[in-house]
Amino acid sequence: MRIAIASGKGGTGKTFVATNLFWLASEMGMECVLADCDAEEPNVAGFLPGDTESVTEVFQQVPVIDPNKCTFCGKCYDYCAYNAILYLPEKRWIQVLPDLCHDCGACSYACEAGAITEKPRLLGKVKRSAYGPRSRLTEGRSEVRVYSAVAVIKKAIHEAGNKKVTILDSPPGISCPFIATVDKADYVVLVSEPTPFGLHDLKLSVSTVQQIGKPFGVVINKAGPGNREMYEWLKEYDIPLLMEIPFDREIARIYSDGGLLSREHTSYREMFRRLLKQILHFQSV
């Protein structure tokens, strides 16, 4: 079962929930895998250092235009939906902007002069590591300055496969990287915090997840200093509140040092065990 741990807002505790759930499943001897899909800023390895098994490079194909074969007809320029081709016909000048290219192949298809070939460009890496006897980690890590991490995210999810417990630690936001992750999930856990920012972003995340058509529930993190508005909103829309994690400086301290709350506190371990059970139960019904 693929479980995406997601949130529109950053810093609400996605990685915190994902790493604790995974650690618990691993401790319980379940077949499990955690994919770090926040490829722009992957943080799972800081909490769960595994033994690296393999590293795969992810490339995209970028067109190269041979100026000697190019007839400057402009058809590739017309076909490109991303403004990734600079074309100045009066100067007989044409150039590809690799950063804007989405590797769709439209220009290659368009070219009738055989002037376009494609060459690989490194987007990032996917690392696979072993954690326990039945547990694995995969990490997507995009190269800094790469515009879109989506191909790296897709590869990380593909490498993770689909085990009994497959956790996808999702990137923030609600656009392409978030959608690429959540789209592959059977269930989505939205992590939020009970503040005006948290609620505003939760509403956006909920509409996005509803639009993709995925079942979901909410975990409220850092509960306590915030207000009740989020609870009332969840109730009004009949959205399941899966778990509440109190605001606690001790939790923040453990997390900041790269520690795992479930490993250090049995009471929290029990809370995460109940959360995991609830999610897995969802699939069996």
Binding site: V144, P172, C176, S256
Partner: protein, 305 residues
């Protein structure tokens, strides 16, 4: 007021989300003015919750297009599926359909279809807004759920804020950036004079800070660091400060973890307005001075005038 007539663009970034970019941006926006504020975290914009602008203009934005297959024209040849590199063409029950979440809007399927059965449908439920707030003018946007192209929408917000800057004759544009290092972050920082990197003392935030610094370096944008909630983990705060020293990045502020910061947000106010006597507010006032001083002293790119 700033001492120089030069136009300045300052972007707040962090790599990791939730380190306090928006709270800091809002506080900086309510100290000295007037200025232009641009919220470039268009996926999940929050700055308007604290600055509560009065929007004077609302403009619809087309984020992209998705392919649609007309079933009555489709001959089931499968050419679209063969050419699609995004695995966005699905085949079930004898019909080809488009996965809206996978379609990248490249239009290749439309071009290859021999039956002209494919057209593109635009998504235009996103908006951008300009208006005034209590200390200047603001540009912000709302990306519709499930829509793409946030980098392009960021570019629109940037362009609109430059136009406002010219129209209103103010020096500074303050940009609240998105998390990450991808296209919206790159679009938010390109051509700015200073990047203020907000971090917190955790292994994750430090790791992400190093990556976002790599990004600002590649774009030759000078950076300065602010450690938020620095007292949550003294040891990592020291490590970050030492790293700043080695990298030659000015550490311009250390904001303590204080309940007033959360209280201010709950009341939709900035901390300098809500609790001006708090240590956090005083620290922000001091770092505000430093940031603008750096700018005046010309740590920014000299060629960008």
């Amino acid at each position: 007021m700033l001492g120089s007539k030069k136009m300045k663009q300052i972007v707040i970034l962090s790599g990791k989300g939730g380190t306090g970019k928006t709270s800091l941006a809002a506080a900086l926006a309510t100290i000295d003015g007037p200025l232009i504020v641009a919220d470039c975290d268009v996926d999940v914009a929050n700055l308007h919750l604290l600055l509560q602008p009065e929007d004077e203009k609302q403009v619809r934005f087309t984020t992209g297009a998705k392919a649609v297959i007309n079933q009555s024209l489709c001959t089931r040849c499968g050419a679209c599926m063969d050419h699609c590199r995004f695995d966005a063409i699905l085949f079930h029950d004898g019909r080809f359909t488009v996965s809206v979440t996978s379609c990248d809007g490249c239009r290749l399927c439309m071009h290859v279809c021999p039956a002209d059965a494919i057209s593109m449908k635009e998504s235009n439920n996103s908006f951008w807004y300009t208006g005034s707030f209590r200390n200047g003018w603001m540009v912000h946007a709302r990306l519709a759920p499930g829509e793409e192209n946030s980098g392009k929408l960021v570019n629109v917000v940037r362009e609109q804020s430059r136009m406002l800057q010219e129209k209103r004759g103010v020096d500074t544009i303050l940009i609240d950036g998105p998390p990450g290092t991808g296209c919206p972050a790159i679009s938010s920082m390109s051509g700015t004079d200073l990047a203020v990197l907000v971090t917190e003392p955790s292994r994750s935030a430090f790791h992400d800070l190093i990556r976002v610094k790599e990004l600002t370096d590649r774009f030759h944008i000078p950076s300065a660091v602010v450690i938020n909630k620095y007292d949550l983990n003294g040891q990592i705060t020291v490590e970050i400060a030492e790293w700043c020293g080695r990298e030659g990045i000015p550490l311009v502020g250390m904001i303590p973890f204080e309940p007033e910061v959360v209280e201010a947000m709950l009341h939709c106010k900035t901390v300098v307005e809500w609790a001006p006597e708090s240590t956090a507010a005083k620290e922000i006032l001091s770092l505000h001075q430093q940031i603008f001083k750096f700018n005046r002293m010309g740590i920014h790119k000299e060629e960008e005038i």
